[in-house]
């Protein structure tokens, strides 16, 4: 196995592995500071922060070092490569580069959004010299509000790493951002009349290692050191981007993509990035409701749950073939499993159907060309299917032998239903007035949702659930990758995470435990057997690869 050396420590390279010095140093937990290099973008080696000394260890053991410093991002590590990233020469170069970068930097950290997660701050503490020798006035460039609808540019903070420019060229392909002027007068800008509004534009804010590109949505809302992160999955389409939900005091402030090579890579789209505002809308459903003859009788969970248990059991006993449930593709696998197994325990004839799967347009792939036509190879896809767990809920339903759709339930509703249990969750609405009226004709109408809908106005029971940021569970994306979502915030007063509602409804003892349900589900449902360990890790588990067959195969086997 090829061996290389970083700071006198040996590292093993896998056969055919292509690492640069930065990645090789990461192997031993050593950080080579860098700005312009990003694993997803092309190498330009222009920031000159990652300069290292490089040499070669000959088979006879002698080491020959190159006389010059080289950029670590551009230099491949091969058998016998010797990287020295902590010598006085390297440290002097790092100090010099940082002094250059800070020469004209305004040092306005107290009013800068990036403070606390800023590459300039962090590296200055670690590698900088602590003071500037510039005696002339700083070169202050004007801020630019016109970069994009969601993006603003603090030009004077920019260090010209050109990550953002390369992103719009290589990932979105839309090439809105560019460098204008020359030398120390350089600035990032857009062509007049062509702002950076593509659906991946928000990523340039994350890519910016300093506080130059800022999100207008997040600007001045929160200091980043107050934010607490929770690992999650973006619920806005079936791509299932790994994200982190950042919150403080039960309020979400932003979503950020989390690097996941098994899922979407490094980035996320703006539909997802800004698609969480419904969590904090005024009209969230909060306390549960039990109605009788259109009148609200109680809004107390301790009353609603036992009473609903009884009502469902009664209906299932009276006419089980006339009982139906509509599952939402916004449910987690665990929730779908709990609801399905609970309803089937009332009666094996309980009809289980998949609710509406919202599809908008076509899959949107990037990069695109100047005219917006998609290009090959595809580097990012925003799926047309605008829900997070169609695949996972379908796998649960297939296990229970359910193949009905919402249309079937609606047709049956015209003929008269004994009970209907409908789960919503789609923040853009999932049923219209007519459909709601049809469902409400059932003797017992239960709706579990987070936002008001035509049905929640008239249902006998309204169970007020949690948004994706308030729940724990598993989403399975379009290609069968099961990833965990974690609760980031508490639900608003009166609302409860759906898992807890279903846990109590199905009469389970103790506190809701997602790991316990996941284990049970993995035991009972073969398609989920890969989740048996209960914890899915940072990147999730690809269900097909681990021996679990495709859902369609499971259905065929039955």
């Amino acid at each position: 196995m090829p061996t290389a050396f970083v700071n006198n420590q040996e590292i093993e390279l896998k056969e055919g592995e292509r690492l640069n010095c930065i990645q090789a140093a990461q192997r031993i937990g050593f950080e080579i500071p860098h700005y312009c290099w990003h694993p997803a973008l092309s190498v330009v080696a222009s920031c000159r922060m990652c300069l290292v000394e490089v040499g070669e260890r000959k088979p006879d053991g002698t080491v020959v070092m190159q006389p010059k410093l080289v950029p670590g991002c551009q230099t491949p590590v091969k058998e016998g490569t010797v990287v020295v990233a902590d010598s006085p020469k390297v440290k002097a170069a790092q100090q010099a580069t940082l002094e250059y970068l800070l020469l004209n930097h305004p040092l306005d950290c107290p009013t800068c959004d990036q403070a606390g997660e800023c590459g300039l701050q962090d590296y200055s503490y670690k590698y900088g010299r602590g003071y500037s020798r510039l005696q002339e006035p700083k070169n202050i460039k004007p801020d630019k509000d016109h970069i994009g609808d969601q993006i603003t540019l603090f030009t004077d903070r920019c260090i010209m790493c050109t990550r953002c420019v390369r992103f719009t060229r290589e990932y979105s392909g839309t090439s809105e951002l560019q460098v204008v002027a020359r030398g120390s007068d350089e600035e990032i800008d857009v062509f007049p009349g062509r702002p950076c509004n593509n659906l991946l534009a928000g990523n340039v804010v994350d890519l910016c290692p300093v506080g130059a590109l800022c999100s207008k949505d997040f600007l001045y809302k929160q200091r980043v050191w107050w934010l607490k992160e929770a690992r999650s999955v973006c619920p806005n389409c079936s791509t299932g981007c790994s994200i982190q939900v950042e919150q403080n005091d039960d309020r979400v402030y932003r979503l950020k993509p989390r690097t996941n090579p098994m899922s979407q890579g490094h980035f996320m789209c703006d539909e997802g990035r800004f698609g969480w505002k419904y969590i904090h809308v005024e009209n969230r459903l909060t306390f549960p409701v039990r109605r009788k003859n259109g009148q609200i009788r109680t809004r107390d969970w301790d009353d609603v749950i036992p009473s609903l248990q009884k009502a469902l059991a009664k209906a299932a006993a009276r006419a089980p073939e006339k009982c139906a449930a509509i599952f939402s593709p916004w449910m987690t696998c665990e929730e779908a499993y709990m609801l399905a197994s609970f309803l089937r325990s009332l009666s094996p004839k309980f009809r289980l159907a998949l609710g509406p799967v919202r599809v908008t347009g076509q899959d949107d792939t990037y990069p695109k060309d100047f005219y917006g036509r998609p290009l090959e190879p595809v580097r990012f896809t925003i799926h047309a299917e605008k829900c997070p767990n169609h695949r996972g809920v379908s796998m649960v339903l297939e296990h229970f032998g359910a193949a009905a759709t919402m249309g079937d339930v609606l047709a049956q509703a015209e003929a008269g239903l004994e009970a209907v249990y409908a789960v919503g969750g789609d923040p853009q609405g999932w049923l219209d007035e007519a459909q709601a009226a049809a469902l409400a004709k059932a003797q017992l109408t239960v709706v579990q949702d987070i936002l008001p809908s035509p049905l929640s106005e008239q249902a006998d029971y309204v169970l007020t659930g949690g948004s994706f940021a308030e729940r724990d569970g598993t989403f399975v994306n379009y290609k069968g990758l099961a990833q965990e979502i974690h609760r980031a915030i508490r639900s608003p007063d009166g609302a409860r995470p759906d898992g807890r509602i279903l846990w109590e409804l199905s009469g389970r003892r103790g506190l809701y435990s997602v790991a316990a349900i996941r284990k049970e589900m993995a035991e009972k449902v073969p398609a989920f057997s890969a989740l048996a360990q209960g914890v899915l890790g940072e990147f999730g588990v690809l269900l097909n690869e681990h021996g679990a067959p495709e859902p369609s195969v499971v259905a065929a086997a039955k």
Partner: protein, 445 residues
Amino acid sequence: MPDFEPVLLARVNKPDSTSLESYRADGGYAALKKALGMAPADVVAAVKDSVLRGRGGAGFPAGLKWTFLPKDHSGPIYLCVNADESEPGTFNNRILMEEDPHQLIEGIAIACHAIRSNTAYIYLRYEYGRSYRVLEAAIKECYAAGLLGKNILGAGFNLDVYLHRGAAAYICGEETGLIESLEGKRAWPRIKPPFPAIEGLFRKPTIVNNVETLCCVTHIINRGAAWFKSIGVPPDPANPRDLGSFGPKLYCISGHVNKPGCVELPLGVTARQLIEEHGGGVWKGRRAKAVVPGGISMGFLTADELDTPLDFNGPLKAGCLGLGTAAVVVVDDQTSMVDVLYNCCRFMSHESCGQCTPCREGTKWMTRILERIRAGHGKLEDLDTLLEVAGSMGIIPGTTICGLSDGAAWPVKNAINKFRAEFEDYITTGRRAVTPAQELMAAAH
């Protein structure tokens, strides 16, 4: 060497020197005919044997560069002619292009045959309007006469030459900056490797040669490598890395001399000879205080170093960056070195492409420090700061992608190390600066 017979400039003073007819009358395109009769590898070998070193500034052996092309490449292979002559003080390419364009086109054709290229691009500096018109006319003549296009001279060799006018930036003279610019992009030099010979223009193998280098190729084929090596200076035995400086060279003389101009001399002439014998001496009876050996990015020779031979090795020994473009700029003893250095730094900070941090920020910082010194607010420690900044930028310490930064740093290092007393005096006595332009105007009245 007064009896040296010019080769490259042999035709410049003839009437109608730009026409194909007159070029042919002087034996033009015989070298091309001869080269087309040779195998490409033999042409490369001849140029390699001559140890023709690139005239663009770096002095890299041209024949060796040609051998870096991948063998048996399916093509296309490109030749780029670097006619983006922007080094301050340099105007030799301009004379070659304006006065004898066919000499260049013949060199291009021979080089393309040697490297098996069927397409050549001449990247011409925007400001050279006359060169553009002359070259355009010459290329047209060649197409009409079957010297360019398909089946040249019946030898089955095809070549198209395109004349591209740049948009006026110094950095386009850096070979990968030139390639980027030719591709229609911002002229940000590329990281190497891959070198252009492997992956250059349009990601194909590419050779970039200077105008004067290609003109020399014509004569090497005509007269042979041995003739070429009979001119100039053999390798310095004390420097094992010196390949020798052979062949004729165009020296540009400008600045404070009585007779500025371009002369062709064998490599190795000293700065003093150039000034005294060919430049008519320093003007107004003054003495030379400093001499730029080859464009301002090469640094300065002091009055004591004027006997330095201007070959590829000499300026190095005197602490300069190299021979560069052999553009000699003379600074007389009435001119402040602070002003000279300020002018150099201002140019370099204006022309820095801004890609690498040390160059983008460093060139500007040095300019602003010098601005402050000239405004009378200098401090002695500024000189050390200048030296430190200059020492931390360039491809020699390894902190930048291209050599512009070395060229920006070298005048600073040379000026402060060699003229430190003058800088200290300037700072401590607080003498207000007089710009060279003002002084020139005052002299004119």
